[in-house]
C-alpha cells in the first residue's frame, strides 16, 4: 500500500507540535518570570518529544533512507504542513498564552479522538501525549483567566491577542486531501467534527475570564497546504541553520 498519504498526515499533526515547540523554545531565558520561562520551555520539550515519536514513525514508513532529523530540519518551507496559528510570533506574553490556549484545546480534542485510530503507533503516541497536553491545557487556560480577570491592562492585552489570533482557528478544522484519505482508512481524525466542541469549550473559558468571544466571519488558511505566513521563513532559518551549516551534525 502506498504510505505517502499517511506520511503527509503525520507531518500535518507533528509539524504543529514542532513549530509551536520552536516558538516556545525561543522563550528560553526570556520568559517574563522564572516560573513561566520554565513552564513554556517544559511544554516545548513535551512537544519536541512527541514530534520525535511521530517523525521516527514517518521515517520508518518512508521508502527513502531518511531519519527524524532530516524530516525536522531539512525540508523546505512549502513542505511544512503546520497550521498558521502555531507559527505566529511571540509578540508579547498575551500572544504566547493566547496562541497556546487556542492550540491546546484543539490538540486535546485531536489526541482524544486519535486514540481510536486503527494505526497502533498513532494510538500509542496519542495516549502518551494526551497526558502531557492535559497539563498544557490547564496551564494556558489558567493564564487566560488570570490575565482576563486581572488588571485593566492585562485584560486589554489578552483580548487583543485573542481577537488577533482568532482568524487562524478555523484552519484547525480543515481537511487536506491526505487527511481525508487517512480518515477513510480509519487512521486519521475527522477534525471538522471537533469544531463545535472546540468553540464551545474555548468560549466557556473566555467567558469565565470575563473576555469577549470574537465574532468573525473571515478566517485565514494556508499552512496545512504549505502556504505559510511571512513569519515562517524567519523561524525556519533559525531552526535549520545548524543542520544547513553542518550537514549531518549530531549531538
Amino acid at each position: 500500500m502506498n504510505k505517502d498519504f499517511l506520511i503527509k498526515y503525520i507531518y500535518g499533526i507533528a509539524d504543529n507540535a514542532l513549530i509551536l515547540g520552536q516558538r516556545l523554545g525561543e522563550l528560553t531565558g526570556h520568559g517574563p518570570t522564572l516560573e513561566v520561562d520554565i513552564a513554556t520551555t517544559n511544554i516545548s520539550l513535551d512537544l519536541f518529544g512527541q514530534v520525535r515519536s511521530y517523525f521516527q514513525y514517518a521515517a520508518q514508513l518512508s521508502e527513502k533512507e531518511i531519519t527524524e532529523d532530516d524530516i525536522a530540519f531539512l525540508r523546505t518551507e512549502r513542505e511544512y504542513l503546520n497550521v498558521l496559528l502555531v507559527e505566529q510570533p511571540n509578540r508579547d506574553f498575551a500572544f504566547v498564552i493566547g496562541r497556546q490556549f487556542l492550540f491546546d484545546h484543539f490538540h486535546f480534542l485531536l489526541l482524544t479522538e486519535m486514540q481510536k485510530s486503527h494505526d497502533q503507533t498513532l494510538v500509542a503516541i496519542a495516549k502518551k501525549s494526551l497526558k502531557e497536553v492535559s497539563y498544557h491545557k490547564r496551564f494556558s487556560s489558567d493564564w487566560i483567566k488570570r490575565l482576563g480577570d486581572g488588571t485593566e491592562e492585562s485584560k486589554q492585552k489578552i483580548q487583543t491577542a485573542i481577537d488577533d489570533l482568532w482568524r487562524f482557528t478555523d484552519e484547525l478544522f480543515h481537511l487536506t486531501e491526505d487527511d481525508k484519505k487517512a480518515v477513510e482508512e480509519g487512521i486519521g481524525v475527522d477534525v471538522s467534527k471537533l469544531k463545535e466542541t472546540y468553540y464551545k469549550n474555548v468560549a466557556e473559558i473566555l467567558e469565565e475570564a470575563t473576555l469577549e468571544v470574537p465574532e468573525l466571519k473571515y478566517f485565514q488558511e494556508g499552512g496545512k497546504k504549505g502556504i505559510h505566513s511571512e513569519h515562517m521563513g524567519y523561524l525556519l532559518t533559525d531552526m535549520q541553520y545548524m543542520q544547513r551549516t553542518y550537514p549531518g551534525m549530531k549531538w
Partner: protein, 166 residues
C-alpha cells in the same frame, strides 16, 4: 493503582537497580518504573524502557547507562524504547517513593488528590523537609517535565513535587 506485569530476569535485576535516572540520582530505573521488560538469551540481554514524558532528555542517557552497566557485568545489551502502555506515576515503587521523599522531592499522590493539589483546592502536598502540609504551588512546571514546583509555608523551603501521571 494499576498493577502492571513486568518481566525482569532475576539475574539482571541487581544490575539494572544500579542504573539511576540522571536527573533523580537516588531513584533506580526499576523503582521509577521505566523498565518494561528485561529478558535474557544466553549472554544477550534485551531491555525495553519507556519514557516518563515524551521529551524526557534522560532517556538517551538511561539507554547508554543500561548498556554500559550490562557490558561491565559481561552481557551484551539491546535497549529498545517503547511507548505503549504509556508510563504512569503509579509505577513508581514504594521503595522509590521513599527514596524520592528522603531526597527532597514530594512523591506523586493519587490522581484525585493530585488534581486538588495542583488546582490549589487543598493543601495536601507534604513538604519533604519539615513534613508540613501547609504548602502552596509556585508553578505547575518544575525543574524537569515530571515535576511541579512547591513552597512550604512553614519552613519556607521550596521543593519539587513529582506530578501524578496516569
Amino acid at each position: 493503582m494499576v498493577e502492571e506485569k513486568v518481566h525482569i530476569e532475576e539475574e539482571l535485576e541487581p544490575i539494572l537497580k544500579q542504573v539511576s535516572d540522571p536527573e533523580i540520582p537516588v531513584l533506580s530505573i526499576i523503582d521509577l518504573g521505566v523498565v518494561r521488560s528485561a529478558n535474557l538469551d544466553g549472554k544477550k540481554a534485551k531491555i525495553e524502557i519507556t519514557p516518563t514524558y515524551s521529551g524526557c532528555p534522560a532517556m538517551d542517557v538511561i539507554g547508554d547507562d543500561i548498556k554500559a552497566a550490562l557490558k561491565e557485568a559481561g552481557y551484551e545489551a539491546e535497549v529498545n524504547l517503547i511507548l505503549a502502555p504509556a508510563w504512569s506515576s503509579d509505577w513508581i515503587t514504594e521503595e522509590g517513593r521513599k527514596a524520592l521523599e528522603e531526597y527532597g522531592i514530594a512523591p506523586p499522590m493519587d490522581a484525585t488528590s493530585d488534581k486538588k493539589a495542583l488546582l490549589g483546592e487543598e493543601q495536601i502536598v507534604k513538604c519533604p523537609q519539615c513534613k508540613s502540609t501547609n504548602t502552596h504551588m509556585v508553578s505547575q512546571f518544575g525543574s524537569t517535565a515530571c515535576k511541579a514546583l512547591f513552597k512550604c509555608n512553614d519552613c519556607q523551603e521550596p521543593f519539587d513535587y513529582f506530578k501524578c501521571l496516569i
